[in-house]
């Protein structure tokens, strides 16, 4: 390592190859190693449709983007400093976003004629000068990997599948990462197939050695650890954070966790993750469909579980009727909806925020429920926990919104202390004397939770309108009006617990950005840039989408303009406009991709200039 090491504040790297090339694995490992070194990171796994496209084709390209930095960051980056392209298709679909003079590592071994044709290249970009404006490092990884593994006597197929680790080795060298974590990962991942661990380890080392030996790169880089707040950290994805948040709520409330779910992209990992924790008393029930899933959850809630169902858009649609029942019988449960691009099947592996209106209104009759949304992968922990807290305290189903970008994205997470998590007290009704199924708590308007098995509290509930207090079936007009209003009021009262909204920037000014969900990083980055430029711009980010925070109206009215970026065609913006009569402006992107902060910056400039 005698070559100069240049210190960078941040770098954005993209691994791109065929779906079969293992880009997610090595990208993720670069992220983990960087996180362990102390960088802040942001990642964007960007893989194709669930189904495999033919090798080498454009729809078959799988990408993993990674932003590493020595300061606090909030996005996976936009333009890349370095791009690894394992084949022509990967080059074609990703080159556009490589910075001018960016580092382009190409696996020449993947640039066969056939692959060039599959990627619709008329000439070989390695030869036609079209890559001149980049620092191109063309390496025949296929051959080099084969050489490195020669003596192991493995099949050609196995050997060829190791070239992703060769590429990772190069990137490690380039960014001065240690190989320790990757090597131990390989050991444990292939514990039962040590020959694979050995092969990949060798490929990894070979990639690094190759750089060292051939002096391919003039410089190597380092990105120093970020000055993150003190504490213990781990790298965590949104779906894992959601699962942990639910288990934490179960442990803190003392209620057994029940997950009733039906697999669906990109929510399935919540089911997978939770099904590992049987020793935490977690019961996972893979139902026959989403309707059975939520209905099992209603039954579980009724009988005293912390009951949760997880799904994505089309699955939420199927749960609509049963969710209405849960609202009507006022049982606590949590619906985790990991949004994906719609409508209908849409683009299952792509992100979107377009299920908000469905979450708020997708049921028959007047059926309000609380909606909360996570803003970052790690924030899924806290927000899922908050959803459980609300459900239990207020005896209501709660809708927790995440999305594909959060679910698969990952970031360093300062691990909380279990004992610091908010308490979740549970008060099962016990006393036959005072018990009435729909007698409400004066503060919260919640009804009592009386679970089967409790002597003397035998009672009946159902989806027909109920008489106040007794819960008996009632068709009385005034009772219906009363119950409709009190159910709404109960939800409104949840706002009493919402902490004051944090404003970044001044409390009044020209422009306020209002965000929710996974746009957090892009909006925050954009606003901070603009604040650095001295612009009059502020920012709030909403976790509670129903009810909205009590101070929101006032905040909105303190700004000349309100801008609401959403990854949909404009949803929360209409709720805000209707409620506060504030002419908030929607800023929308519906491409199955998160915002770039630059897009938001441009919009900010536009508004500040034009008005």
């Amino acid at each position: 390592m005698s070559k100069p090491v240049e210190s960078l504040k941040e770098a954005t790297i993209r691994f791109a190859g065929d779906s079969g090339d293992g880009m997610q694995l090595v990208g993720g490992e670069m992220a983990n190693t960087s996180a362990l070194i102390g960088n802040d990171i942001g990642v964007l796994p960007d893989f194709p449709a669930e189904i495999r496209a033919p090798a080498g084709t454009l729809p078959g390209v799988s990408g993993y983007q990674l932003h590493i930095s020595s300061f606090d960051i909030h996005t996976p980056g936009e333009k890349y400093d370095a791009l690894v392209a394992m084949n022509p298709a990967a080059l074609k679909t990703n080159l556009e976003n490589l910075k001018p003079n960016g580092i382009l590592i190409i696996n020449v071994g993947g640039f066969k004629d056939r692959n060039l044709k599959l990627a619709h290249y008329d000439s070989n970009p390695l030869e036609d000068g079209s890559l001149d404006k980049y620092q191109v490092f063309a390496v025949d990884m296929n051959t080099l990997t084969r050489k490195a593994l020669e003596e192991l006597g493995l099949s050609a197929k196995i050997v060829d599948r190791c070239k992703n680790f060769f590429a990772l080795g190069m990137v490690f060298w380039l960014y001065n990462r240690t190989m320790d974590h990757a090597l131990s990962l390989l050991k444990s991942k292939f514990a039962k197939k040590p020959e694979l661990a050995e092969a990949n380890s060798r490929a990894l080392k070979a990639g690094s050695m190759y750089c060292e030996a051939t002096e391919q790169f003039v410089t190597s880089y380092e990105v120093k650890p970020a000055k993150l707040p003190r504490g213990k950290y781990r790298n965590i994805s949104g779906n894992t954070a959601t699962a942990l948040g639910l288990i934490a709520a179960s442990q803190k409330s003392g209620l057994p966790l029940f997950l009733g779910s039906y697999p669906i992209t990109p929510a399935s990992d919540i089911l997978h993750e939770l099904s590992k924790y049987k020793h935490y008393g977690v019961r996972t029930f893979q139902a026959e469909d989403e309707i059975a899933a939520i209905c099992s959850v209603i039954g579980a809630a009724y009988s005293g579980s912390l009951a949760v169902t997880s799904t994505s858009g089309p699955g939420l649609a199927l749960k609509a009727e049963a969710l209405g029942l849960a609202i009507s019988v006022e049982l606590p449960l949590v619906v985790c909806n990991v949004q994906r691009a719609g409508p209908s099947t849409g683009m299952p592996t792509k992100t979107e925020q377009a299920d908000l209106m469905q979450a708020l209104y997708g049921r028959n009759g007047e059926a309000p429920l609380p909606v909360v949304a996570a803003s970052k992968p790690a924030d899924c922990f806290e927000t899922a926990y908050e959803a459980c807290r609300i459900a239990i305290k207020h005896m209501t189903p709660v809708l927790f919104l995440s999305d594909g970008y959060l679910a698969n994205g990952a970031e360093p997470w300062p691990i909380p202390k279990a004992e610091d998590l908010p308490e979740i007290p549970v008060n099962f009704a016990k006393d036959p004397e005072s018990f009435q199924p729909f007698l409400r708590d004066e503060d919260t308007l919640a009804r009592p939770w009386a679970i089967p098995g409790t002597p003397g509290l035998e009672h009946r509930i159902g989806g027909i309108e109920k008489e106040a207090v007794t819960g008996n079936v009632s068709y009385d007009p005034r009772n219906h009006e009363y119950m409709t209003r009190i159910r709404a009021e109960k939800i409104e009262k949840i706002a009493d617990d919402i902490p004051p909204t944090e404003i970044e920037g001044e409390k009044t000014g020209d422009l306020l950005l209002v965000g929710w969900g996974s746009t957090y990083g892009a909006i925050r980055t954009a606003v901070e840039h603009k604040l650095d430029e001295g612009k009059s711009v502020s920012r709030i980010h909403l976790t509670h989408l129903n009810p909205l925070p009590k101070d929101l109206g006032e905040i909105l009215k303190s700004f000349k303009h309100v801008l609401m970026p959403e990854i949909n065609a404009g949803q929360l913006v209409n709720v805000i406009r209707a409620k506060y009569m504030v002419p908030a402006i929607g800023f929308n992107k519906v491409q199955g991709l998160p915002f770039f902060s630059s897009e938001i910056e441009q919009k900010i400039d536009e508004i500040l200039e034009s008005k």
Binding site: G38, P225, R230, R234, F258, A300, E458, R460, G463
Partner: protein
């Protein structure tokens, strides 16, 4: 555990001494006068005291339909849910608390039309839940459309020229879905109804009871052939484990198998005697036997079997799940939230 000997959560050695009254809620019963549902309710209320299970351990879950009003009238925990979904709700209840005695009350529309999928999945999973299916071959609550058990050609509100749907045979369907306990009884035979309810309660695993129920408003008399005093004996054969299939007012006829086709034969013309007859074996692990019985219903020349078609042992879903939890606890130790949060690769920032 043997299907016959099981008692759910027996309350120790002392008898609970519950009575029918203990199971009557304070709600006015709202079915049409003459509806068969009344009898099923009354027999259920009469039978439960004998099961010696504390009242608070009973949960009755229903969907939507006339029959699904049932839980309101039981002074137990009750859940009148949405159309067709009671099996799924009951599953969540039973998994959460296997100690409860969980009952699903459903109709032919509720269970077999909109709820068909949950119904067959409940059966295959063999969750220990008792299902009483009130089969009146009509949609009662919505005022008289045909149901999945209505006969081909049935004239109803929605089929003024006759239905063109072939009906389900609920018992055959249940057997195709690998049900472990299937029985049939009628609203007009209180003693038998009680007996079957007890048998279902005793069975560990999903128990299905099909009850022939009369809807005297929209489908009056659909089962009279099998339920009325004057015709019942000739048209119904009672299934009793280990006994030959004999029927007729004079007990003068029996069922014998010809290959695997059941035939009704006379026991008095000297051709056949009792020993030629099918001997009922509810414990046959091969579902074929019960399947044969189930199809007797489709053959107008044969009496319809009532009683327990099948009662076999098979591991219950909730037991297997509870076992996994125990095993995991043994293997991985006690929950430790902090350890869980800190699992995997971590690093410290100073």
């Amino acid at each position: 555990m043997n299907a016959e000997t099981k008692t759910i959560s027996p309350n120790g050695p002392t008898e609970l001494k519950l009575t029918k009254k203990d199971f009557e809620s304070d709600q006015e019963v709202r079915w049409c006068p003459g509806c068969g549902d009344y009898a099923i309710l009354a027999q259920t209320q009469r039978t439960l005291p004998d099961l010696n299970i504390p009242k608070e351990k009973y949960v009755f879950v229903s969907g939507i339909g006339c029959s699904s009003r049932f839980p309101y009238y039981m002074d137990t925990y009750g859940f009148h849910s949405i159309h067709g979904r009671a099996p799924a709700i009951a599953t969540g209840i039973k998994i959460t608390n296997p100690d409860l005695s969980v009952w699903v009350i459903t109709g032919d529309g509720d269970a077999l039309s909109i709820g068909g999928n949950h119904f067959i999945h409940l059966l295959r999973r063999n969750v220990d839940i008792n299902v009483i299916l009130f089969n009146n071959r009509i949609y009662g609550l919505t005022k008289g459309q045909y149901s999945p058990t209505s006969e081909f050609g049935k004239v109803t509100k929605s089929t003024p020229f006759g239905s063109v749907d072939h009906p389900f045979n609920p018992v055959s369907l249940a057997l195709g879905a690998s049900a472990t306990f299937v029985a049939r009884t009628t609203d007009r035979d209180p003693a038998h109804l009680q007996q079957i309810i007890k048998r279902a309660a005793a069975h560990k695993g999903t128990s299905l009871i099909e009850v022939f129920q009369n809807c005297n408003i929209f489908n009056d008399g659909t089962w009279f052939k099998y339920t009325e005093k004057n015709s019942r004996a000739e048209n119904v054969v009672y299934l009793e484990h280990g006994k030959p299939l004999i029927f007729g007012a004079e007990q003068d006829k029996g069922i014998r198998l010809n290959g695997f086709r059941p035939e009704a034969v006379s026991l008095t013309n000297g051709k056949y005697s009792e020993k030629d007859l099918m001997v009922h074996d509810e414990k046959d692990t091969d579902a074929t036997y019960a399947f044969i019985l189930s199809h007797m219903m489709d053959n107008p020349d044969l009496p319809v079997p009532v009683g327990v078609f099948r009662a076999i042992d098979k591991v219950c879903y909730e037991d297997a799940m509870a076992q996994q939890i125990e095993d995991s606890k043994e293997k991985f130790g006690k929950p430790d939230l902090q350890a869980l949060l800190e699992a995997g690769d971590t690093w410290d920032v100073e």
